[in-house]
């Protein structure tokens, strides 16, 4: 059986993709999805490492992360919807009334 | 035996108290009370000084130092009074002439809205000058030194609403300060060398125990610059002519009896240090001679009655410097005294003229005043003869001694003697010129002016001074050297090694002294004669 390295490498790639997406995209929804991607990369890392190490900490942790992610989804979507209602757009570029 | 020894401080305190009292209370007193009070204060000081002077002069009392209080202990600076022959003599001159000037001022300042303030300043001035000469401590001396500067500032700019008066006062103070700069540096040197600012025996008599000749030269030069500031020597004389902006009694006080003599006094007091230096005395003499000549030359061309006297003062101070630079200390002090008499007289006389002419100062607009102002005329004549050096008036003796002292040193000093002689000629010339322009010839007054003789307040001091100007010379004739004997304790230890010959006391014994006297008298006569020739004819 292959070691954890390939899984972790994949997780790393996912995480970087997520981070890049968050930092470069301008649509709030896509940015939000990027966060989710990052969290899932974390989950993958936990699981892969946990399996290699042989304790359950990693897998248990995943549950917590999932729960937190779910909470974030709720709040995040609510905020995005609220913004969208007011401005008919979910682009962060339009969220630039504050400067300084 | 000397009951007054512990009360000498009163000499300073009385005029000072007068100043303070008049400053705060003077404006409540009607004229002439403030003036009388002020004159009383300084007159009493004169009496005390005289009473303390008598035992000193007769040898019943020794010179002594009266410690008043510690000032800056770290520097050995204290308020201590030195009562010796020199300071006693100076005190008498200051208080004596000062009293006369005070009295005179009562008449002169009549009607001035700041009548009492004027006497405040006069009293303060006298106190300052007395502080200067009575100090036994360089720091205290500097107090007086600066305070006379302050008072000259206050008095010269007394009529402060005249911008020229205010500027002249400031100029006097600032130029004096330049001299003070050197004086302070000199004091620093004194302190670093002697470790104290007290005028101990070491400093005054045997500075050679501590000082190297080089350091002595440095101190001497610095003191000379300081003295030049106060005594209006080249190049710091510029303030004095401007200072004529002050009321005329001020000119008499500052330029005859007190402030300007401070420099002479300083050098005489520190003669030992000057003698230690190989070059200091010749420099002093040269500065003196040069000043005497230059000022006399300028005086010839003046038309303002006070300006003539101002430059004459500068010139005569040059004489005193020449005397001291020639190690003729007694001659210098002697001339200081006689000059105090006749120059005070001249200024006060001029003041009387100005007063009588209703503030006219231009001699070209005078003339023929001898009838209108007989007393002034007579006293002025005495003074003119005295300053010109005509036997037997006071100036003759003192000037003669100076020239003799210069001559006696020989060598380079012969040049200075020549200069002095020529200056004597000039002095006689311009003084006669002034006398003629003011008192003889046809009146050239402005229309409608009626000159009048001054009040008794003014004429009495004139007469007293005239007597002194006429007779004071006999204090120290070549045969009758009273003053010389009196001052001997102060100067006896001095013996400038680098000056060629002995001091010419013995000159009196042989014909040379007599010859010199004849020469200087002759020069004076020629001066008077040429002035008569030039001016008496034209008027």
């Amino acid at each position: 059986m292959a070691g954890p390295t390939p899984y972790m490498a994949l997780a790393f790639i996912l995480f970087v993709i997520g981070a890049t997406g968050l930092l470069t995209r301008r649509n709030a929804l896509i940015m939000f999805m990027s966060v989710e991607l990052m969290l899932n990369a974390v989950n993958l890392t936990f699981v892969a490492a946990g399996r290699a190490i042989g304790n359950f900490t990693g897998q248990i942790s995943v549950f917590f992360v999932l729960v937190v992610a779910a909470a974030e989804v709720v709040i995040g979507l609510a905020i995005i919807v609220a913004v969208f209602q007011k401005r008919n757009s979910a682009s962060v570029d339009e969220l630039s009334e504050m400067k300084g | 035996m000397d009951l007054l020894a512990d009360y000498l401080w009163l000499i300073i305190a009385l005029p000072l108290a007068g100043a303070v009292a008049l400053h705060f209370g003077g404006k409540f007193l009607p004229e002439p009370l403030p003036g009388i009070a002020a004159a009383g204060a300084i007159g009493t000081a004169f009496l005390i000084a005289a009473a303390a002077f008598v035992p000193l002069a007769t040898g019943d009392a020794e010179p002594h130092v009266l410690m008043l209080w510690d000032w800056m202990p770290g520097l050995g600076a204290a308020f201590e009074i030195r009562w010796d022959q020199l300071s006693a003599l100076m005190t008498l001159i200051i208080t004596g002439v000062g009293t006369l000037i005070h009295i005179y001022s009562i008449g002169y300042m009549h009607g001035d809205p700041r009548f009492s303030r004027f006497f405040t300043y006069l009293n303060l001035f006298a106190a300052s000058m007395l502080t200067l000469v009575l100090a036994n401590n360089y720091a205290m001396m500097f107090v007086g030194w600066e305070l006379v500067g302050l008072c000259s500032y206050l008095l010269i700019s007394f009529w402060f609403t005249r911008p020229s008066a205010a500027a002249a006062g400031k100029k006097a103070f600032v130029v004096n300060r330049i001299g003070d700069f050197a004086f302070i540096v000199g004091l620093m040197l004194i302190f670093t060398q002697f470790g104290s600012l007290t005028m101990s025996e070491t400093v005054l008599v045997h500075p050679g125990e501590v000082l190297s000749p080089g350091t002595a030269t440095a101190i001497a030069i610095l003191f000379l610059i300081g003295a030049a500031g106060k005594s209006a020597q080249i190049p710091l004389y510029v303030w004095l002519p401007d200072a004529m902006e002050g009321p005329t009694p001020v000119s008499a006080l500052i330029h005859a009896a007190t402030m300007v003599t401070a420099g002479v006094y300083l050098i005489a007091r520190n003669a030992a240090i000057f003698e230690l230096s190989p070059v200091a005395l010749p420099i002093v003499a040269t500065v003196g001679a040069a000043t005497a000549l230059v000022a006399a030359l300028i005086a010839v061309g003046q038309n303002d009655i006070k300006k003539v006297l101002a430059y004459s003062t500068v010139s005569q101070l040059g004489y005193m410097f020449l005397a001291i630079g020639s190690a003729g200390y007694v001659a210098g002090v002697f001339h200081l005294m006689t000059h105090a008499f006749f120059k005070a007289l001249l200024f006060l006389g001029a003041g009387s003229v100005i007063h009588g002419m209703h503030e006219e100062q231009d001699m070209r607009k005078m003339g023929g005043l001898r009838k209108a102002m007989p007393i002034t005329h007579a006293t002025m004549l005495v003074a003119t003869l005295a300053i010109a050096g005509i036997f037997p008036f006071a100036g003759f003796f003192s000037k003669d001694e100076i020239l003799a002292a210069a001559f006696a040193n020989g060598g380079y000093y012969l040049v200075l003697w020549g200069v002095g002689l020529f200056t004597a000629f000039l002095t006689a010339f311009y003084m006669t010129r002034q006398y003629i322009m003011v008192f003889w010839g046809k009146p050239r007054w402005v229309e409608g002016l009626t000159p009048h003789e001054s009040s008794l307040w003014m004429t009495v001091p004139l007469m007293v001074l005239a007597v002194l100007s006429a007779g004071a010379g006999f204090l120290n004739t070549p045969q009758l050297h009273t003053l010389e004997d009196y001052l001997e304790p102060v100067f006896e230890a001095l013996n400038p090694a680098h000056l060629e010959s002995e001091l010419p006391r013995i000159l009196g014994m042989d014909g040379l002294a007599f010859g010199l006297a004849i020469v200087s008298l002759g020069v004076a006569v020629i001066g008077i004669g040429s002035a008569l020739f030039v001016y008496a004819r034209s008027s």
Binding site: A49, S61, V65, V68, A82, V83, M98 | -
Partner: protein
């Protein structure tokens, strides 16, 4: 497991319970705000009592020579750091509620939610500061952060509030993701997510040692985002300006306390073996934060943005202490205590000046405040001086402690940079004072009520007392901290 020490999490639990109660009561009775105050007051009092319970237990432990106790199977720890941090959070919450009250009255039905969120956020951050396990820490962090995202948007009338919430949410979740990825990598490296994972590490590295370094960087960066250290501060000005005025002080302060205590634990316990590696990096970040925060604060025209940038600089100052290592812990806690209280008060006064639901608080509103409301002006002036680190204020003592430790640890250059920057910082702190005291009101100036409401006065008084009293005589607070933090 016999280590169910409930007292260790008593305040947190109570806060959650009160929050739940409030929600229930709100839905059930819709009571007026005044009655709600009773419940909230009781809840706060209870939480304070719980904290005292926890504190006295800890004192007993300390007297027995123990630094603290692990509880719940090593999930939470009750030690000096956590107890003091919880105290600070509790003070912030109390002041925050008091200062938010005018806003609650204005936003009507959402007032209960606001209170709930504040309670929950506090409980989250309390869990964070008490966590002995990094996953636990993550949960605490998220409970706190997510509550704050919502709080930012609570004044929904303002367009800027939405914008602030959105930005806060996106960058906040990004930071959380980074943080938890760091935890995952640490787990991959050491096989444990305990906060002392590396301290008890047996040497078996699952992947490669490099993973630990990446993990360290991730954990630290994740927290640095939360505490607005440069260069991870970009969100802070917009959020502090745009969020609902009444709660923004609470938001800023509580997040900072939580974040910094977490950071202290992470670098001081988890990565203590690597201190040679992280110390220069942290020092550099500290210096960057100080310089950048100060420079950017100089050019602001809005008071709240200025406070945000000054917060960046303050993050730098505290990081100087973090970089100095464990010896600075007590100074950091002192610093946090006084700074966050001042921060809450400053934002609170801003809310009174510009309105409880306003977005932003331009400097022009402060002109002539001293003559219109001397109390508020004096409070704000004291607060500003405290933040600037002026001696006689506690801000000075805080800075002094931090700098002292850093200097002794060889970080002289950072201290010098910090000192110079703190002089430049006077510019913007004094600017407010200038506007309040030395200029007169003009047409730009907002209308301000003559005197602040009672709660506001109370909050100002607390801030002033803490600033001045602990500035002149800091011993009580320092002793309190020192007695439990060994």
């Amino acid at each position: 497991m016999s280590d169910l020490i409930w007292s260790a999490i008593a305040p947190e639990i109570l806060l959650v319970i009160v929050a739940a109660l409030v929600l229930v009561v709100e839905v059930w009775k819709r009571p007026p705000l005044k009655s709600m105050a009773l419940l909230i007051g009781a809840g706060l009092a209870g939480t304070w009592a719980a904290w005292f319970l926890q504190f006295s237990r800890l004192q007993d432990l300390v007297e027995l020579g123990s630094p603290g106790a692990l509880a719940f199977n090593g999930m939470v720890v009750s030690d000096g750091t956590s107890v003091i941090a919880e105290l600070i959070l509790l003070v912030i919450l109390t002041l925050g509620v008091a200062l938010a009250w005018p806003m609650l009255a204005e936003i009507g039905q959402r007032s209960a939610e606001t209170l709930v969120l504040m309670f929950l956020a506090t409980s989250g951050f309390m869990f964070l500061v008490a966590s002995a396990n990094l996953v636990m820490a993550f949960i605490g962090l998220e409970v706190g952060s997510i509550s704050l995202y919502v709080l930012a948007a609570v004044a929904r009338k303002s367009r800027l509030a939405d914008e602030a919430a959105m930005k806060y949410f996106l960058l906040g979740s990004f930071a959380s993701a980074v943080f938890i990825y760091g935890v995952a990598l640490l787990y991959a490296g050491s096989g444990s997510v305990s906060i002392d994972a590396l301290a008890v590490f047996n040497g078996r590295i699952i992947v490669s040692p490099g993973v630990l370094y990446v993990s360290m960087a991730m954990l630290v960066v994740g927290v640095l985002f939360k505490v607005t250290a440069a260069p991870f501060h970009a969100w802070a000005p917009d959020v502090y300006q745009g969020s609902a005025a009444g709660v923004v002080g609470f938001m800023a302060a509580s997040a900072k306390v939580g974040g910094f205590v977490a950071l202290v634990r992470i670098v001081g316990i988890t990565f203590v073996r690597f201190s040679v590696d992280w110390r220069p990096a942290l020092a550099a970040i500290a210096a960057l934060s100080i310089v950048l925060g100060t420079l950017l604060a100089l050019s602001q025209t809005d008071f709240r943005r200025m406070l945000a940038y000054s917060g960046v600089a303050h993050a730098g100052f505290i990081l100087v202490g973090v970089a100095a290592g464990r010896s600075a812990t007590e100074s950091i806690l002192f610093y946090l205590a006084v700074y966050t209280v001042q921060l809450v008060a400053a934002f609170g006064i801003a809310a009174m000046v510009s309105g409880p639901t306003s977005s932003g608080s331009p400097f022009s509103s402060y002109k002539g405040l001293a003559s219109r409301s001397p109390l508020m002006a004096a409070g704000l002036a004291v607060t500003m001086l405290g933040m600037s680190g002026m001696p006689i204020t506690s801000g000075f003592i805080g800075k002094l402690g931090v700098f002292r430790s850093a200097w002794a640890q060889g970080l002289e250059w950072v201290v010098v940079v910090a000192l110079v920057a703190s002089v430049a910082a006077f510019f913007f702190y004094l600017r407010v004072i200038v506007d309040m005291y030395m200029r007169d009101a003009d047409e730009d100036t907002a209308d301000v009520p003559d005197e602040p409401p009672v709660a506001g006065r109370l909050a100002i008084a607390v801030a002033v007392v803490i600033t001045i009293l602990f500035g002149l005589y800091p011993a009580p607070l320092l002793d309190l901290i020192r007695n439990v933090v060994s």
